[in-house]
């Protein structure tokens, strides 16, 4: 358990299967004296012990969401509204900096998009693991090193070599794995993976994902996977959250979402995947670009600019959340066609 006291009121406020609850989360960036929202009114339940994927194009607010989950949005951005509450930690959006520091890296850990450069170039990997252990007041820092060595072996790395190496002595794939070791070594309750395999070739990618998957299963680790890759989502995730222009447009269990996508955006995403069998030209890319931060419409549907089913109502009213009956499949769309498969 983390060193941060659990607040019973907040702990009991969450259902037993929800590890993290996000409500009304709005993150804004200040650009030229205008507050532009990168995330708007995001509601999300991250399930205990499951892998929740957050999928979206670049600029959809994925990485901002990852940072906001750790209350780490930095200037010129800020969390303008909303709460992020963890079952075991309480509300991170209300913590002071010291409590936040203790939670980060210990209870909530993150593997970065730029994991290849997440190490201090001037000290050895082992020394940095010790820095991590000391920062979180581990009683036996050596045990942390042993745990790291075990994880390294598991990821088919030569543990002795890796722990005594400097960053520049490791290859890209090795650094990425080291990043994952840093994420797992203190046995966090929640793991955030922000595009953990973007920089890797296909083979390293699948081996890294396999390791993450097996450790996640073993520890029943609550995991949030931020990605733009529907293939990775299909392979790993239990649930999927689709993010577009800073809003959640659809949320469902993975198989349900892939078989019966509701929102026109999700449909387009799935249609864009080339099939292994059949005519590759059946894959249809989604036309157009996601709106830039400044161009996101504040009223109406954010997707309407690229939507094939656009209606008048989409201009004026923001679609509410509809739930597919008897499932936990939710989407936000005015189009009646969305209700049917």
């Amino acid at each position: 358990m983390g060193s941060v006291a659990v607040e019973p009121a907040q702990a009991s406020a969450l259902d037993r299967d929800v590890a993290c609850r996000v409500r009304g989360l709005t993150v804004t960036y200040k650009v030229d004296n205008r507050e532009l929202s990168a995330l708007r009114d995001v509601d999300l339940d991250i399930r205990q012990g499951q892998i929740t994927a957050v999928i979206g194009e670049s600029g959809s607010g994925k990485s901002t969401l990852a940072l906001a989950l750790m209350n780490a949005v930095s200037k010129p951005g800020r969390i303008a509204a909303g709460k992020v509450t963890y079952r075991d930690l309480g509300e991170v959006t209300a913590m002071d900096s010291e409590r936040l520091r203790r939670a980060r890296g210990r209870s909530l850990s993150m593997v970065f998009q730029a994991s290849q450069n997440s190490l201090n170039p001037l000290t050895r990997v082992g020394a940095q693991l010790l820095d991590l252990a000391r920062s979180h007041d581990m009683r036996d820092p050596r045990a942390v090193l042993r745990e790291a060595a075990a994880l390294a072996e598991r990821m088919s790395l030569d543990a002795d070599r890796v722990l005594t190496s400097y960053q520049h002595q490791l290859s890209g794939g090795m650094r990425q794995r080291v990043g994952i070791i840093f994420g797992l070594v203190l046995k966090p309750q929640v793991l955030l993976l922000d595009e953990p395999t973007t920089a890797l070739d296909v083979l390293s990618q699948s081996s890294v994902l396999e390791i993450v998957r097996s450790i996640q299963r073993e520890r029943q680790l609550t995991t949030v996977l931020i990605t733009h890759d529907m293939g990775v989502v299909a392979e790993l995730a239990d649930r999927v959250v689709v993010l577009y222009a800073g809003r959640v447009v659809e949320e469902a269990p993975t198989t349900e979402l892939i078989r019966h996508p509701r929102h026109p955006y999700t449909r387009a995403l799935i249609q864009a995947i080339p099939r292994l069998t059949g005519d590759p030209s059946l894959a249809r890319p989604l036309e157009g670009q996601p709106p830039s931060l400044a161009a996101i419409p504040t009223t109406g549907c954010v997707f309407r600019g690229r939507c094939p089913h656009r209606m008048e109502v989409c201009e004026t009213s923001t679609p509410g959340i509809s739930q597919v009956s008897d499932t936990d499949h939710r989407y936000a769309c005015h189009w009646e066609g969305a209700a049917n498969d």
Binding site: G105, N117, S118, S135
Partner: protein, 331 residues
């Protein structure tokens, strides 16, 4: 660290070559001076009735070579004497060997220059960190402005200003000589205190005129390191602030070491002005007196010793750099 010894040997070898090059340069420089001082000395000795043999010996003792021999023989004689650490004899301090004079002067310059570099480096780095941290506020901007202003003032002017204000108008600090003349040198507290007291103004002149450069370089270095991914990573991993500051500081100081190497030479060059202004009897003072009194052997010797000091300092700085940056250690 296995590669350290061969590397040191390579660097020392390179240093010796450079020293020889400078020695050759000073030799030919003296020959290019109109009137050929060595020859005119020989002639004037002979004219004043000294035996030719005696006169030759004397000139040879002063310059390390005989002026009427072929140039290459003179050159070889000079280098040969040099290899025996014989730099000839001073003219203005008649009969005293140049190496003796220089060895007396060297410690004072090394002391003040080193102190000046350390003080300016430390002050500059701290100021740079402050500017970087408070870069959006008037406090940071104030330090930037102040540092830029002082950086623009040459050492020479700064030294004159300090000497005028603090030894003449308000005589707070002593002027001249490295320690109080009435004291006997030794490892005693009052003597060391006097040494430091006398060194304050020269050291301040070095430091004030060069800390601004460090501060501005450090500021941009810190700002760029703050934007690095691993700093964000260390924050998201919840590292203690003390450890994070260590990460930032070490990475930010690194690029400054290259400049440090260059500044050593600059500081030794500055000693020519600063020591003369404060009447502080170090190498720079020695060099300028030798020049004004046409004491060529002393001049050549001073050149040589300053070169050597700069080369040695460079080698030291280079190895220091290797010690703190693992990326340039040869595998």
């Amino acid at each position: 660290m296995k590669s350290l010894i061969p590397r040191l040997i390579r660097r020392l070898f390179g240093g010796i070559i450079m020293i020889l090059a400078v020695a050759s340069f000073t030799f030919f420089l003296i020959h290019l001076i109109p009137g050929n001082p060595a020859l005119s000395k020989l002639t004037s000795l002979e004219m004043s009735g000294v035996q030719p043999r005696q006169a030759e010996l004397e000139v040879s003792a002063i310059y390390g070579f005989l002026p009427h021999q072929p140039l290459y023989i003179q050159y070889l004689q000079y280098i040969w004497q040099l290899l025996h650490l014989n730099l000839g004899k001073s003219i203005m301090y008649a009969g005293i060997s140049v190496s003796h004079l220089l060895l007396l002067a060297l410690p004072w310059t090394v002391f003040t220059v080193t102190a000046g570099i350390i003080v300016s480096f430390v002050v500059g780095i701290l100021a740079g960190v402050l500017i970087a941290v408070y870069r959006d506020r008037w406090f940071g901007n104030g330090i930037t402005l102040f540092s830029t202003f002082l950086h623009g003032i040459p050492q020479l002017i700064m030294a004159l200003l300090l000497a005028y204000l603090l030894t003449t108008i308000w005589p707070i600090f002593p002027y001249g000589s490295p320690y109080k003349a009435s004291m006997t040198p030794g490892f005693t507290l009052p003597f060391i205190g006097s040494l430091i007291f006398h060194a304050i103004l020269p050291v301040a002149a070095y430091a004030i005129s060069s800390y601004g450069g460090w501060a501005l370089t450090m500021k941009s270095s810190v700002v760029s390191v703050l934007g690095d991914d691993f700093i964000l990573a260390s924050e998201l991993r919840g590292l203690k602030p003390r450890i994070r500051i260590g990460y930032i500081a070490r990475n930010a100081i690194l690029p400054l070491f290259t400049t440090l190497t260059l500044s050593i030479g600059f500081m030794f060059g500055g000693s020519v002005f600063i020591e003369q202004i404060f009447d502080y009897r170090g190498l720079g003072y020695m060099l300028i007196t030798a020049t004004t009194n046409l004491d060529y052997p002393l001049m050549a010797g001073a050149f040589l010793i300053i070169t050597t000091a700069v080369i040695v300092a460079n080698i030291l700085a280079d190895f220091l750099y290797t010690a703190i940056d693992p990326r340039i250690r040869v595998q």
